[in-house]
Structure formats: C-alpha cells, structure tokens
C-alpha cells in the first residue's frame, strides 16, 4: 500500500494496472502453500511472540511478524502492518505457532453474544471517549 509500485501509473495505457493485482505473487512467501496446515486464525485473535527475534526464523516475513507481536496484536493488524494478504499471514502464523515462537489468544466462542458485564463495560468505555 504505502509501497505500492503502481502509485502514479494509473494514467495512460499500460500492460498492467491495479486490476492486475500484486506484481509479486503473494503466496511466493509461503512457498505456494495457500492454507494454514492445522489451525485457522480469527481476524481478532491476539498474537504475542513468545520469543524475541530468533536467529533461525524462517524468513524476513516471519521475523517481521515476530517483531510486531512483541506486544499483543490482532491478526488483522499484523496483516495490515506487514502489508501481506490475510491468507498469506495465516500460513506464516501457522509456521510460527508450530515452531513455538508465537502464542495465540482467541476471542470468546462465537455462538453467543458477550455477557452483560462486558457489554456494560463497552458502553461505559464508549461514553468516556
């Protein structure tokens, strides 16, 4: 996004444009793997690195994720800040999880709404904004 190689080239005929998608295929960084092997990650699952940067971390993208998650961050935020598609990030997260380099904290179960206390806390917090 901030490093969009197509910025400023919308004008005039070109053999590619924004509709063509990324210039480098996004799943290059996952070695062509398109699905997490074992688990899925909700957009608001929090991630926390359990280690500081490991010397043997598989790739710069994995390292970028570890650097970001030195403090708790949601999956959507990690994906946005490393500027990779969600699907790619989920595969990388699965690697980090299986290597024990990251911990996940899932949102509450999805089959029911939050309890009264939580909702009241949200209302209170919003009023205080």
């Amino acid at each position: 996004m901030s490093t969009d190689p197509l910025d400023g080239v919308e004008e005039g005929p070109a053999w590619w444009d924004h509709e063509a998608g990324p210039v480098v295929r996004p799943y290059m960084v996952t070695g062509g793997r398109v699905r997490p092997v074992t688990v899925d990650f909700d957009l608001i699952t929090f991630l926390v690195a359990t280690a500081t940067l490991a010397a043997d971390t598989p790739s710069p993208e994995h390292q970028a994720i570890l650097a970001l998650t030195q403090e708790p961050r949601a999956v959507a935020e990690v994906a946005s800040r490393v500027d990779l598609p969600l699907g790619v990030v989920r595969v990388l997260l699965c690697d980090l999880l299986s290597d024990g380099l990251i911990a996940r904290y899932d949102p509450p179960p999805t089959d029911h709404l939050p309890n009264v206390e939580t909702l009241q806390a949200v209302i209170h917090g919003l009023r205080a904004l």
């Binding site: 926390v48 994906a79 598609p85 911990a103 939050p114 939580t118 949200v122």
Partner: protein
C-alpha cells in the same frame, strides 16, 4: 506454553463490530471518526484455484483479485479492545462477510439516502444471521434529509431495530451510533436470559 506471560502487558479480550453499507456510503470515514489509529487496511487475495484441476491443488493460480477491508480500533480499557471492520462493499464478496460476521458483537448498517436500496442486502444478511444491528443514516452536507420514520418505512425494518441519523465524519455522532448498537445488544442479551 501460551498461558505463561508474567513479564508483559496482559492480552486484552477483542470484540468486533461490523460497519456495512453500499460503496461510498462512508464506512471508512465512520471507522476513522472514532478509531484511535488511522484506519488500517487488510487485504485478502482471492483465487480461482482448485476447481477440478490436476496438479495445482494447494497452489495459487493466475486468476486473483484483491478484496480490501478497512478497520479501526478502540481500546475500551486495558482488558477490552473493540475493532471496527468495514465490510467489502461489493456483493460478490458475501463469503468474506461470513468470516467477518462470525463472533461479531453487532453491526452498523450505514445507509446513504441517495441510494437506500444499497442497504437492503446488508439488512437481509444480518437479519438472517440474527446479528444485532442498527441503521445509521449518513447525512451528507446539503443532502436531502429524511426523517428516521421515513427511512424506517422505506427500509421496512422491524420496529425494534434502532434507526438513527448520523454524520459519519463526526466523532460524537459516530460514538452515539456505537453506544446505541451496544445498548441494543444489551437489551437482546437481557431479554434472552430467563428471568
């Protein structure tokens, strides 16, 4: 392994609210009005992979398209963080809505009075999923104003669904929309609990 974290900040509980509406209704503007961070964008790359092809299983094919979702964050307190996700405007990305709507606290349907019909799909979707929602009518400058009653009638929503006017650029106005939504959810939760 993942329960031992004594040295750093506690991990908050995350909640999400969806902001739905037609293209250009002001979803990202609304998110930006209350978010503590400039709205971030996350993207999903969609492929046409895996439809009866032979060796390409598990490998991305050439045909891709990118869907963007903008989102913001509000820290309610140290143990509670609220995320606001703008849904992709195009109807062909409904399946992404499923992921977004799963576990959502509720939704804001941002309606543009110039194109009210753009809201129908989102309203139907949340009604069918039983996702609590409110309808916020975005009042642009110099726009023809309708009353809440006129909008409610035009959209044919149930009487218990809150409908309110808003200015998606205005922090206080958007804050009020979110409070109305969470109060609506609270009412639903309370009424579903046997006395």
């Amino acid at each position: 392994m993942d329960s031992v974290r004594s040295d750093t900040a506690p991990v908050p509980q995350a909640l999400k609210i969806l902001v739905a509406g037609g293209f250009g209704a002001g979803k990202t503007t609304l998110v930006g009005a209350v978010s503590e961070i400039a709205p971030l964008r996350t993207e999903e790359v969609l492929t046409t992979a895996g439809v009866g092809t032979d060796d390409t299983t598990g490998v991305a094919t050439k045909t891709t398209t990118t869907v963007a979702m903008d989102f913001g964050r509000i820290t309610i307190n140290p143990s509670l963080v609220l995320y606001l996700f703008g849904t992709p405007g195009q109807n062909r990305f409904w399946f992404l809505w499923d992921e977004l709507a799963t576990g959502a606290l509720g939704a804001v349907v941002l309606a543009d009075t110039r194109r009210l019909a753009d809201s129908f799909a989102a309203i139907d979707y949340f009604e069918q999923r039983n996702t609590p929602f409110v309808i916020a009518v975005n009042c642009f400058d110099n726009d023809q104003r309708y009353t809440v009653e006129q909008v409610r009638e035009a959209l044919d929503v149930d009487g218990h669904v809150p409908v309110l006017l808003t200015d998606a650029r205005d922090r206080m106005s958007v804050k009020n929309v979110l409070i109305t939504l969470v109060e609506h959810v609270l009412t639903m939760v309370r009424s579903s609990v046997p006395a």
